[in-house]
Amino acid sequence: MIIRRRTLLAASAATAATIASPAIAQNYPRRPVQLVVAFAAGGSTDVGARILAAAAEKDLGQTITVVNKPGAGGQIGFTEIARAKPDGYTLGFLNLPAVNTIILDPERKAAFNVDSFIPIINQVLDPGLIWVKADSPYKTLADLTEAAKKTPGKISVCTTGILSDDHLAILMVQEAAKCEFRIVHFDSGTQQLAGVLGGHVDVAFDNVGSVFKRVQSGEVRGLAVTDVERSKFLPQVPCTKELGLTTVISSSTRGVGAPKGTPADVVKAIETAFLKAINSAEMKEKMDAVGLALKPMVGAEYAKYYADTQAQAKKYTEWALKMR
C-alpha cells in the first residue's frame, strides 16, 4: 500500500510540474523530439527528412524521431502537426504547396489554416520536371504545347495528385501556352512511370528528385524544368524561364515547421540547430546523392515564401475548382 501511495504521489507531482512550467525553453530540449512527415516512408520527403533528422540530432542534443503519418495527400500528417502541443517536441515537415492547396479547397474541410503553423526553416526546393517516354514524338516543350493547341484536350498529362504542385504546373503551362491537356491524376511517381512507360498516358509532370536518374540514363526524356534556372542534376534540360514561359514556375518545397503557439526561443533553438545541419558539407553530399536540391530559408525569408506560395496557389486552386 505504502509503495503504491508513494508512486501515486510522485506521479501527481510530476504532472503538476509539467503543467506549471511555462519556461520550458531554457533547457529545451530535454527529451526526444518527434518530426512528423505527412508522406510515406521511402518517399522523397521522407528521405530528405531522415537525412535532416540524423544531422540535426547532434546539434540539438536530443534524438529526433521521424514519424510517418501518410494519407489524404498529406492532410492527415499536417493536421497532426497543427494539433500537436506547441512545446517544441512535435515538429513536422511542411510541404508547399500541398499545405496551401488543402487549406484552399473547401471540399477538404481542413482542420488547419495558414496561421496554424510557424514555418521555421526550409530544407529542399525540388523543381517540377515535365517528362515523356524516350521514343515520344515530343522532343521539346514547344512540340508538346503546339500539339496540344492543335488537338485540345487530347494529349494526356498526369499529376501525382489533384492540386499537387504538378497539377498546378499543368495549369500554369495551359495558361502560358494557351493550350489544353487531358489531365489524369495518379498518386505517386511510380504510377506515373508505369502509366507513361506503358503508353497509357503521354506526358508526366513530376519533380526532378524523383526521376532525374531515369533522365540521366536515357530511359525517359526531360522536356523542361519548371524553374528560373536549370537543375544542377539535369544540366542538359532547359528551364521554363529560358523557354519564355516565365509564369510557369513550380516546385515542391519542404521545410520544418511547428504548431502555432510554440515559444519563440524554442523556435530559435530549432532554427539554429537545423540550419547548422543543412549548411554542413555532409548534408550537401547526402542530398546530392538522392537528387534533392538544398534551399535553406529561415525567418522572414521563409515566412514570405510561405505567404507567396499561398497567394500563387490561391489563383490556380480557384481555377482547378472551377473546372470540377
Binding site: A40, A41, G42, G43, D46, K69, P70, G71, A72, G73, Q75, I76, T79, I102, D105, E107, R108, K109, A111, G153, S156, I162, L163, R182, I183, V184, H185, F186, D187, S188, T190, L193, A194, G195, L197, G198, G199, H200, V201, R324
Partner: protein, 499 residues
C-alpha cells in the same frame, strides 16, 4: 540469366546469419499460428506486423513471408491430430489426415504433408523465379483499364467460388467495397463517410479490421467450443512405406501444378486449390473408395497444393502489385508500411530486396521441413495447453499489436468492433474472405476506374476497346452465368467428392 545472378546474390544475403534468423523466427511463429486453432495466416500475419517494425525492410518482409507459409503449413498438425483445421485451407487435410491418425499413422500423415509442402513450395518458387521478371515487364502494358478489369474478375471469382453461399458472398463483397469508400476521396480529396472523425480520413485501417474479423472473431468462437481431444499417436514412426511413397509422388506432382496455376489467379483463395487437387487425385485414383478412409494421396495432394499456392500467390503481388488473397493483402500492407511498393518497378528499383526475399522462400521451405519432420512431437504438445490461457494471451497480443500500428487507441476499438462483427457473421454463416478482399481491392478498383475515365475523357467504351480488359471482364460473366444456370453441378462437385 540475369534472374539467376540476382537469385544467387539473394541467396548470399538470405543465408546471412541475420536473415536466416529472421526466417527461422518467422517459420516458428508461423507454425505456432497454424497450430493454434482459430488463428489463420491472415490474422496471424496481421497480428505480427508490429513485431517487425524495428527490423529493416528486407528483414521485416522475410519474417512476415516466413510467418505466412509457416502458418499455411502449421494448420496441418491440428487437422491431423484434432480433426480441426488450424486454418481454412487445411479443411481438406482433415478428411484423410484424421483418418490416418485414427489408424495410428499420424506420423506418416504429418511427414508426407511436410514433404509435399516442401516440394510444392520449392517448385512453385522455382516457377516464380522464371515467371516473375517477364511478367513484371509485361505488367507495364497493364494500365488502369486492365487493372480495373482484372480486379473485377477477381472479385467475381471470389463470389462465384463461394458455392451455395453465393448470395452471401456477394453481399459481403458489396459491404467490403462500401467500407472501402470510407475516407478521403482518392481523386478529389473530399472526405466521405467520415462523420467528422479525423481518424477515418485515411479510411478504416486494413490491418486492425483483419485482426478483428479473423483473429478476435476466431478467438471468441474458439472460446465457446470445448477443446477437442488430441489423438495420442506415436509420432516417431513417420517414414512412409514404399507403397505410400509411390502413391504420393504423383499426388505431389499434380498438387504442385494445381496450386501454382491457381495461385496466379487473383481471387481464387487458398481453399479452392486444395479442394481441386484433392478432387483430381480422387478422380485419377484406381481405388477412389480409399479416399476419406485414410488415403495418403489425399493428404499429400491437398498439402502440396496448399503450399504451392502460397508461394505462387506471391507472383501477382510482386509483379503486378495485386493481392490475390486476404493474407497476401496483409503482406502487401506490410510491404507498404516498410516503404516498398509492390508492382512492375519493384524488380528494377529494389532488386536486392526482392531477390533476397525470393531466396528466403527457398530457405524458409527448407527450414519448415527441418522444423516439422523431427520436431512435430513438440508442436503436438502445444495443443495440450488449455484454450483459456492461449486465447487470453493471443487477445492481449492482438490489442498491443493494434495499438502499436499507429500508437492510437482508435485502431484497437476498430479491431474489437470488427471482432464482434466477425463473430456474428461466422455464427450466421456469412463468408468473411470476400469482404476482406473487397476492402483491400476497393480503393485500388475505385482509383483505377476513375483514372481510366480520366484517360478516356469519361467514356466507358474504353473497356470494349482494350482487348485484354474485354477478355478479363467476359470470363467472370461466363463463369458466373454458368454457375447461376447450373448451380447444382458446382455444389455437387464440392460436397460429393469431399464427403
Amino acid at each position: 540469366m540475369d534472374a539467376l545472378n540476382h537469385l544467387l546474390a539473394g541467396f548470399a544475403a538470405a543465408l546471412s546469419f541475420k536473415y536466416l534468423m529472421f526466417a527461422l523466427v518467422g517459420c516458428v511463429l508461423g507454425t505456432l499460428i497454424g497450430v493454434l486453432p482459430g488463428l489463420g495466416p491472415a490474422a496471424g500475419t496481421a497480428i505480427l506486423i508490429p513485431l517487425t517494425f524495428s527490423l529493416d525492410a528486407t528483414g521485416a518482409i522475410i519474417m512476415l513471408c516466413a510467418i505466412y507459409y509457416g502458418a499455411m503449413y502449421g494448420g496441418t498438425i491440428t487437422s491431423v491430430l484434432l480433426n480441426v483445421p488450424g486454418e481454412a485451407a487445411s479443411v481438406v487435410t482433415c478428411i484423410d489426415g484424421y483418418q490416418m491418425a485414427l489408424q495410428g499413422r499420424a506420423g506418416t500423415a504429418l511427414a508426407i504433408a511436410a514433404i509435399g509442402s516442401f516440394v510444392g513450395g520449392t517448385l512453385a518458387t522455382v516457377a516464380l523465379v522464371m515467371v516473375a521478371t517477364p511478367l513484371a515487364t509485361l505488367a507495364l502494358k497493364f494500365g488502369p483499364v486492365e487493372f480495373f478489369a482484372l480486379m473485377v474478375a477477381g472479385l467475381c471469382l471470389v463470389v462465384g467460388l463461394a458455392g451455395k453461399n453465393m448470395l452471401a458472398a456477394l453481399l459481403m463483397t458489396v459491404i467490403g467495397l462500401l467500407f472501402a469508400m470510407i475516407g478521403v476521396d482518392p481523386v478529389r480529396g473530399a472526405p466521405r463517410f467520415t462523420f467528422g472523425v479525423e481518424e477515418l480520413y485515411d479510411g478504416i485501417g486494413f490491418v486492425p479490421v483483419v485482426m478483428g474479423l479473423f483473429g478476435v472473431a476466431e478467438l471468441l468462437l474458439a472460446a465457446e467450443q470445448r477443446q477437442a481431444r488430441i489423438i495420442q499417436a506415436n509420432l516417431n514412426k513417420w517414414m512412409p512405406t514404399k507403397e505410400e511413397r509411390r502413391a504420393s509422388v504423383g499426388a505431389i506432382g499434380r498438387g504442385t501444378v494445381v496450386g501454382f496455376v491457381l495461385g496466379l489467379i487473383p481471387g481464387v483463395g487458398a481453399i479452392v486449390p486444395t479442394f481441386m487437387a484433392y478432387v483430381i487425385e480422387k478422380r485419377v485414383s484406381k481405388t477412389p473408395e480409399r479416399f476419406g478412409k485414410g488415403a495418403i494421396e489425399g493428404v499429400a495432394s491437398a498439402e502440396t497444393a496448399n503450399n504451392a499456392y502460397a508461394n505462387a500467390a506471391m507472383v501477382p503481388l510482386l509483379a503486378l502489385g495485386i493481392p490475390s488473397s486476404p493474407t497476401i493483402a496483409v503482406l502487401m500492407g506490410a510491404f507498404i508500411i516498410n516503404g516498398i511498393t509492390p508492382g512492375p518497378f519493384l524488380f528494377q528499383e529494389q532488386p536486392t530486396l526482392v531477390w533476397t526475399v525470393i531466396a528466403s522462400f527457398f530457405v524458409g521451405n527448407a527450414l519448415l521441413l527441418i522444423l516439422n519432420l523431427p520436431l512435430v512431437g513438440l508442436w503436438a504438445k502445444l495443443l495440450k495447453i488449455p484454450f483459456s490461457y492461449m486465447c487470453t494471451g493471443v487477445l492481449i497480443f492482438c490489442i498491443i499489436g493494434a495499438y502499436g500500428l499507429k500508437q492510437s487507441m482508435f485502431d484497437v476499438w476498430v479491431m474489437l468492433g470488427f471482432g464482434i462483427i466477425g463473430y456474428l457473421l461466422r455464427k450466421l454463416d456469412f463468408p468473411i474472405a470476400p469482404a476482406i478482399l473487397a476492402l483491400i481491392l476497393g480503393p485500388m478498383m475505385e482509383k483505377s476506374l476513375r483514372t481510366t475515365l480520366e484517360i478516356s475523357g469519361g467514356s466507358f467504351a474504353i473497356f470494349l476497346e482494350r482487348p485484354v480488359a474485354l477478355v478479363l471482364l467476359t470470363v467472370p460473366v461466363i463463369v458466373l452465368g454458368a454457375l447461376l444456370l447450373r448451380p447444382k453441378t458446382f455444389s455437387k462437385l464440392r460436397e460429393s467428392d469431399v464427403d
